[in-house]
């Protein structure tokens, strides 16, 4: 994985090479963080809890996109389409068959995997820009299919979904949702971390680096690319289905191109090629509009700009994205690593080797 961070720590066994947590400090920090996460819903207010839920939900999709774009190097602009596919699978199964969540979630994963093949097939022939364009086209087709369903079946304002229930217990409370979403997000993160250090993930990175060399190393480039699309799309569709349950409502309006851009912004702002980056980026992008609103209120502009809050958000979001692309292509993870280096090397100063 990464280089050992602390001094005086040397790897002596292969198991240490692939361990997720290497040093005692890291383990202690992870434990403390887990405790903080568990305590969070009992401390936070309703808004902060909803924000945390949004972050957890978003992080599932962002990690999936990071696997595809950040690790396997396949550009996709169809992320909102996949989320929509998952959400609509849940909604349609619920409306037509009254299916419970333990049917809709796996069904969403299956639909996502199928769409992953559809999104991934162009990647066997196309690269870079052309691939991005083909996924963009698929996005519009998925959204169109969803809109068709809504109008044909008379749900033109959207599909209302009941919250999931087990026996008599209904998942409705925000605090309960927090733990469910946390479980999904952590499971997804661990699954992705494991996948990345296993053969599949190493194959993805090789394909990202250079396809011809990966082929020469005995990696089936086609299979690796398709696997990346299938895994990423299945996870994304599950995230979409969870989103539908969380909101209790599915409508195509929620899955515009802007949502795709937000997800892409998450992995850009977070930092390409890092799962930590995907999570940091999700936090940033999710909290950003609320921060803007708070800033506007602080400056006393809230009343004057009340009708155009979304425009202020758009402008600020575009500006921040540009600033990150131009000034900090490494994203938040780059900043985080520099901070870490600074403390590790203190009192010495280190210039990063690559600018």
């Amino acid at each position: 994985m990464s280089l050992p961070r602390a001094s005086g720590y040397f790897r002596t066994r292969y198991a240490q090479d692939t361990a997720l947590l290497e040093t005692r400090t890291q383990k202690a920090a992870a434990l403390a963080f887990a405790a903080a996460l568990a305590a969070y819903p009992f401390v936070a207010g309703p808004l902060a809890l909803d924000l945390a839920n949004q972050v957890l939900l978003g992080s599932i999709g962002a990690v999936a996109l990071m696997l595809l774009t950040g690790y396997a190097g396949q550009i996709s602009l169809g992320h909102a389409g996949l989320l929509a596919a998952g959400a609509f699978t849940g909604g349609i199964l619920f409306k037509e068959l009254g299916a419970p969540f333990w049917v809709t979630l796996p069904a969403a994963a299956l639909v996502g995997a199928g769409l992953g093949i559809a999104f991934g097939l162009p990647s066997l022939r196309l690269r870079g820009l052309y691939l991005a364009v083909s996924t963009l086209a698929l996005h519009f087709i998925v959204i169109h299919a969803g809109a068709e369903y809504e109008t044909r079946r008379g749900f033109s304002t959207g599909i209302v979904i009941d919250p999931p229930r087990i026996g008599d217990w209904v998942l409705r409370d925000a605090r309960a949702w927090y733990f469910v979403l946390l479980a999904f997000a952590v499971a997804n993160l661990l699954f992705s971390l494991n996948l990345l250090r296993a053969r599949t993930g190493r194959a993805w990175r090789a394909v990202h680096g250079r396809e011809a060399v990966a082929e020469a190393l005995g990696i089936s480039v086609r299979r690796a690319k398709l696997a990346a699309f299938v895994v990423s799309s299945a996870i994304t569709a599950v995230a979409g289905c969870l989103f539908a349950y969380y909101r209790g409502f599915v409508s195509v309006e929620a899955f515009s191109l802007y949502l795709t851009i937000q997800y892409v912004a998450m992995i850009i702002i977070g930092g390409m090629g890092s799962l930590l980056g995907a999570v940091l980026g999700t936090v940033f992008v999710t909290v950003f509009p609320y921060a803007i609103e708070a800033a506007m209120r602080l400056l006393g502009l809230a009343d004057r700009l009340a009708s155009v809050v979304f425009a202020v958000n758009y402008a600020a979001f575009g500006l921040v994205m540009i600033l990150f692309l131009v000034l900090e292509p490494q994203g938040l993870v780059g900043i985080w690593r520099r901070v870490q280096d600074w403390f590790l090397l203190w009192p010495f100063k280190q210039r990063p080797l690559s600018k």
């Binding site: 083909s134 191109l257 692309l325």
Partner: protein, 290 residues
């Protein structure tokens, strides 16, 4: 007959928008996904100059056109030159971010109301009989003529002038072109200026026809498949691709279902990507260079 007129008008809309995509891509290998927003900015430029020079409509149009040129060059100078040498994804994302920024700023400055720049100029949108029972609106006719004019002059510019020659050279091989003394930044800025100018023209004409509002951006995005069907680096391809996409769209709307209008261009695009990813007239080695 009316169908043929409709196809021609829609094809000219697409073609006029597409040549912006093609110009930028051909010269600098960057796909500008902010084109829809730049189009809209051009239309708002006309709206602003129309109220500034009220009573002198021709002056207002000329000022708006000049403004669009300047905006294009400014976009390159302020943002896109930093993206030269970065990865394809970074450059495309920069244009997407620019698009979001522009959309937000436009709402902040001009509001969300639908504007009618044609009325502000004091002109009306009459419709003519073109024979066979078909009618075409004045703006539609202006669109067809304007597209023909733009493509004619672009072909002449690229084939016949020194700057056109430099532009083609920079598109074919930037390194060699730079070593022969072509100033790449100037060329790229010129490409952005011309693309914004043509896109702005399309935006102004569309806004004159149907009013100026947020949906203009969607039309900009819908025109993109036409550019790709024809081949992203071929102006001739953009014309042919626009005809194909517009023809498919109008015929399918007429014979099958009006709701299809938003997806048809993208279905055509997918079909093209499967059959011939580099487009009808694009150059083939393109794909590996991206």
């Amino acid at each position: 007959m009316q169908l043929a007129v409709n196809i021609t008008v829609l094809a000219s809309i697409y073609a006029l928008i597409c040549c912006g995509y093609v110009l930028i891509y051909r010269v600098s290998r960057v796909l500008s996904l902010a084109h829809g927003e730049l189009m809209m900015l051009g239309a708002y430029g006309l709206y602003a100059t129309a109220s500034l020079f009220s009573g002198h409509p021709l002056l207002a149009v000329a000022a708006a056109a000049g403004l669009a040129l300047a905006v294009g060059a400014a976009v390159y100078a302020a943002l896109m030159w930093r993206m030269t040498g970065e990865s394809v994804l970074a450059a495309v994302l920069a244009t997407i971010a620019l698009g979001i920024l522009l959309r937000g700023l436009m709402v902040l400055f001009f509001g969300t109301q639908t504007q009618y720049p044609l009325r502000d100029l004091g002109w009306t949108n009459a419709s003519f009989d073109v024979g066979g029972g078909a009618r075409i609106s004045a703006v539609g006719a202006a669109l067809v003529l304007g597209t023909a004019l733009v493509y004619g002059s672009l072909f002449a510019f690229l084939r016949g002038t020194r700057w056109g020659l430099r532009m083609r050279a920079a598109g074919q091989n930037p390194l060699l072109a730079a070593q022969r003394g072509v100033r790449l930044h100037g060329i790229y800025a010129l490409a952005w200026a011309l693309a914004t100018f043509t896109g702005g023209m399309a935006g102004m004409l569309l806004a004159s026809d149907a009013g100026l509002e947020g949906t203009l951006v969607t039309i900009g995005l819908k025109a993109f498949p036409a550019a790709l069907v024809g081949g992203l680096d071929s102006l001739l391809g953009a014309l042919v691709g626009s005809l194909i996409v517009a023809g498919a769209e109008v015929l399918l709307i007429y014979y099958v279902d009006p709701l299809l209008s938003d997806v048809v261009p993208f279905v055509v695009l997918l079909a093209m990507l499967v059959l011939r990813p580099w487009g009808l007239f694009g150059s083939r080695e393109e794909l590996d260079r991206v």
